[in-house]
Symmetry: C2
Subunit: 257 residues, 2 copies
């Protein structure tokens, strides 16, 4: 059956997921469950034919999202509200569609994104927490939030972040950071970073090096020198994925959360 031309309307959806059980966002081999794979499976059950989705950010295995954005084309006659309900009814409990609306035919969730915001949660107590184990990084050593914020301040502006991640093929490693700071919240230290775009592994790499500043194994100057080196080998350890959340993405017409 030739289904060319039946692509229908372009939709934009905001999704939340618990990344614990998944091999990241991007579809891979069928045996490895992914966010993309689950959403495409749900859409296929609704549309009775394969539907491919595009995501704004390719979150790693174990990374969570409160405001990931996807797009897809679908011929659907019952309105966006019914489509949202149908998708949620066909998705597993750890993935949910929060918002769904029609988008312009040329809308692209990655290329059209203006700003993305991530959070990283460090649980900074001597003993591990069973209830926070899948949603934060447990750091035993007390961290100095002041020096970590001195390091975070340096990130704001336009910089070549080659030390802290790899660009997609054909892109350079210059990014503009609008906001970067650490905030204590109960037993957590919460890092917020907003940028026009991010390199692959950039937030986790930054967090790992700022954690080294916070525990005293790096000075703020060492952190600045690492940034200026533009050399991936100068980065500290990469923070684990389960403390990271893709929080929101801003487009010209909307912010997703």
């Amino acid at each position: 059956m030739n289904v060319a031309g039946q692509t229908g309307t372009r939709y934009r959806a905001v999704i939340e997921y618990d990344g614990t059980a998944y091999f990241g966002f991007q579809r891979q081999v069928p045996e490895q469950p992914t966010i993309q794979g689950q959403i495409e499976r749900a859409l296929q059950q609704i549309a009775h034919r394969p539907v491919t989705i595009t995501g704004a950010g390719r979150t790693d295995s174990g990374v969570h999202a409160l405001g990931q954005v996807i797009s897809f084309d679908l011929a659907w006659r019952h309105g966006p509200a019914a489509l949202l309900r149908a998708m949620n009814a066909n998705l597993p409990p750890d993935i949910a569609i929060l918002v769904l609306d029609e988008a312009p035919p040329a809308f692209h969730p990655r290329y059209d994104a203006r700003r993305r915001t991530y959070h990283y949660y460090i649980y900074n107590r001597p003993l591990r927490s069973p209830l926070r184990r899948q949603t934060s990084w447990h750091v035993v050593h007390p961290l100095n939030v002041d020096t970590m914020n001195q390091a975070a301040e340096v990130l704001v502006g336009v910089h070549d972040f080659a030390t802290f991640g790899q660009p997609p093929k054909g892109e350079n490693s210059v990014r503009q950071v609008f906001l970067a700071h650490w905030q204590p919240r109960n037993e957590f230290l919460v890092f917020t970073i907003e940028a026009n775009a991010f390199l692959y592994r950039m937030v986790r790499s930054l967090v790992g090096s700022m954690k080294a500043v916070g525990d005293g194994s790096w000075t703020v100057s060492a952190f600045v020198a690492a940034l200026q080196a533009r050399d991936r080998r100068q980065a500290g350890d990469t923070a684990p994925p389960h403390g990271l959340y893709l929080v929101s993405i801003t487009y010209d017409d909307a912010e997703t959360r």
Copy 2:
């Protein structure tokens, strides 16, 4: 080998757990994992003989704890700090010992408890949340926190709570509630209740009926009448277990959190 007399010191421990994967606190048949079973397994690995623990509260399947209290007797020569580390090293990631100290030989976590505090989290938004699905009850209908607090106020004082739960064998169903209120916190409604003791299923039964008040299907007067009826059949639906947390227990010498 006769191990009588080798009971050693009585220890008191405060524990946190994610109840998602367990058939409640209390040890049951071996095929059903329980919190008690996991802690006793860890102690057996440390002591090389069976150790039985006693818990302050028998939390149901799926209920969480931030400050459950247990006691056990053990001959151990390396001090409480080393015992805490050894236990945590032998426990799975969803159970942790937070505090451990020596207790008087007659200490009993349930009989000696003066006050217990529970929290119940309702996630009150139209759409389900993947990241909160195991730690809160998703209620779609917008709830009226004012009428729910009118119902909660009625609970404070000494009452016969027979409508809202069953007492342990040989006990009556009169309990003293010191504090009971609902508080909005972001997208959650958080119920806090502190009492000298609770009947079996009491918090979940109260929450289920107060939720009926909040969604308008019960009046506050109907809630009061149900309380006064002292009749289990007059209770509303029981709220699900995964929104419930045993937060802390107060003893004459200490509060556990």
